[in-house]
């Protein structure tokens, strides 16, 4: 089922319905991510990289506090999106404000001190790059043309874009309606793909939500179903030799892809982006089984 977004007040949800969409809370999510990355880094084979990503997430958290964004009053635009069933912040179509570039500059400024070598070079190069060029990088990334952007640049550009889009997403005045067709492979808010899916606890116990890799929204998808092609025929759950593991890879025998699914019930502290990044060994192992990944992690862009 796809998720259709309409202005708030147009329709209300019946009691007991599964909420199709959970909007992000940028004021807390980057901090939670940073703390989780720091926890996971202890004794981890990739500790240095996880700690570096924790620094980025902490900088993103600070940006949200220091550069609060207001959702532009584009009521006509949103109404038009709703009328055609399009995502309100469809990241390629949405007219980006220059403010995301200010966010990028602020982010780079926070990260530069204490860095050396390639990282420092990458940050400084981005700082001096013309705004039009950085706009081109952003457009390429949002359009999924990852080969057009170096994977090092992509990390920082995407981190700034995420702070921009998550703040806008958090302020949308909308209702999400579950539609009876099958198209939930992309984020209903910004049309990017998911990083992983999370099986919730509490009042959403047992429900699975896909986590957007850009705007950090979460949208519902029925479990035991391929999140890419929506087949249910040959779904496998792969894990290290341990039945109680929280992070597993969900593979599909029809489209040959996989994405991780994480059970909060097994580990209440897990966070989609952090735990995905900290379980790269599982990616390597499932690649050996012949499956390919159907989503990016915002801290790990593919080689160009």
């Amino acid at each position: 089922m796809s998720i259709r977004i309409v202005p708030e007040g147009e329709l209300t949800q019946a009691a007991g319905d599964i909420p199709p969409l959970l909007l992000p809370d940028p004021k807390t999510l980057y901090l939670t991510r940073a703390q989780r990355l720091e926890t996971l880094a202890d004794g981890h084979d990739m500790a240095d990289y996880l700690r570096f990503c924790a620094r980025i997430a902490r900088a993103q958290h600070a940006l949200v506090a220091e550069h609060p964004l207001a959702l532009p009053a584009r009521d006509a635009y949103f109404a038009e999106c709703a009328r055609h069933g399009l995502p309100p912040l469809g990241s390629s179509a949405w007219p980006r404000d220059q403010v995301w570039q200010d966010l990028l500059d602020a982010l780079l400024g926070k990260l530069l001190p204490g860095t050396t070598g390639v990282i420092a070079d990458t940050i400084m190069a981005l700082q001096t790059q013309a705004r039009e060029d950085r706009e081109t990088l952003a457009s390429a990334l949002l359009a999924g043309r990852y080969d057009a952007v170096s994977s090092a640049d992509a990390l920082f550009v995407w981190a700034a874009l995420s702070v921009y889009f998550s703040q806008l997403a958090s302020q949308l005045k909308i209702h999400a309606i579950a539609e009876p067709d099958e198209s939930r492979h992309l984020c209903p808010v910004c049309s990017q793909g998911p990083v992983a899916s999370v099986v919730k606890i509490g009042d959403k116990d047992g429900l699975r939500y896909l986590h957007c890799t850009l705007c950090e929204s979460e949208w519902h998808m029925v479990r035991v179903k391929c999140s890419n092609c929506e087949s249910t025929r040959d779904i496998g759950y792969w894990s290290p030799d341990d039945k109680a593991v929280a992070v597993r890879a969900e593979s599909c025998g029809d489209c040959g892809s996989y994405l991780k699914v994480m059970a909060l019930g097994k580990d209440m502290a897990l966070e989609a982006v952090a735990d995905d990044l900290a379980t790269l060994t599982l990616d390597a192992a499932i690649e050996e089984e012949g499956f390919v990944r159907s989503g990016i992690n915002p801290f790990l862009f593919p080689g160009s």
Partner: protein, 195 residues
């Protein structure tokens, strides 16, 4: 079903060359070296309907073994299906105990008969079971079938035998149950497996 909707990525091949980690000078090599000592386990989750009663709660059954590699499949966990409109993940105590029901050593796995006067059950073949059941049905129906009531009106009913069908049956099974039961003139039929 559309086969390819999102982009696909291979991240880990070639020591992750070109990815953000490598491009920024970090070494994912250590994490990747683990792969050789990494034993992957494949599990499945299968939707089903609880067999106990006619509420028909949705369940998810977790099993190990992919069926293809001579591995013995085994159900390791059963829980309510949170996506199911009937029970939204909840199960009653009987449903919550399904795993023990599946693995129960007392589970009936083949037909058995206790002959009149005997205290022992003995195992019989399915063919023999079907023949005996058919014989009992025929004998009882021949003896008790009511063709006309006291007023001479044709009723064609058989009141001395009832039929207990399964609760988690498909629509087609329900159709077959109805055809079989009503064509014999049987009136007592229940689809509730609460006994």
């Amino acid at each position: 079903m559309q086969v390819s909707r999102r982009q696909f990525f291979k991240l880990c091949g070639g020591s992750m060359a070109g990815t953000t980690i490598a491009a920024l000078g970090f070494t994912p090599g250590v994490a990747m070296a683990d792969v050789r000592s990494y034993k992957l386990l494949r599990a499945s989750e299968t939707r089903n309907t609880c067999p106990y009663c006619s509420v028909g709660c949705g369940i998810l059954m977790y099993s190990l073994g992919d069926g293809a590699k001579n591995a013995k499949s085994d159900i390791i966990h059963i829980e309510g299906d949170a996506d199911h409109p009937v029970n939204r993940g909840a199960l009653c105590p009987k449903g919550a105990g399904l795993l023990d029901f599946v693995h129960s050593p007392n589970r009936l796995k083949y037909p058995e008969v206790r002959e009149a006067g005997s205290t022992e059950f003995k195992r019989i073949s399915w063919d023999e079971a079907y023949s005996r059941i058919a014989r009992h049905i025929k004998t009882d129906r021949d003896a008790n079938f009511v063709e006309k009531n006291a007023d001479g009106v044709t009723v064609n009913r058989w009141l001395s035998t009832g039929f207990l069908a399964a609760s988690a049956s498909s629509n087609e099974t329900g159709w077959l149950t109805q055809k079989f039961v009503r064509s014999l003139g049987m009136l007592a039929v229940d689809n509730q497996a609460r006994v």
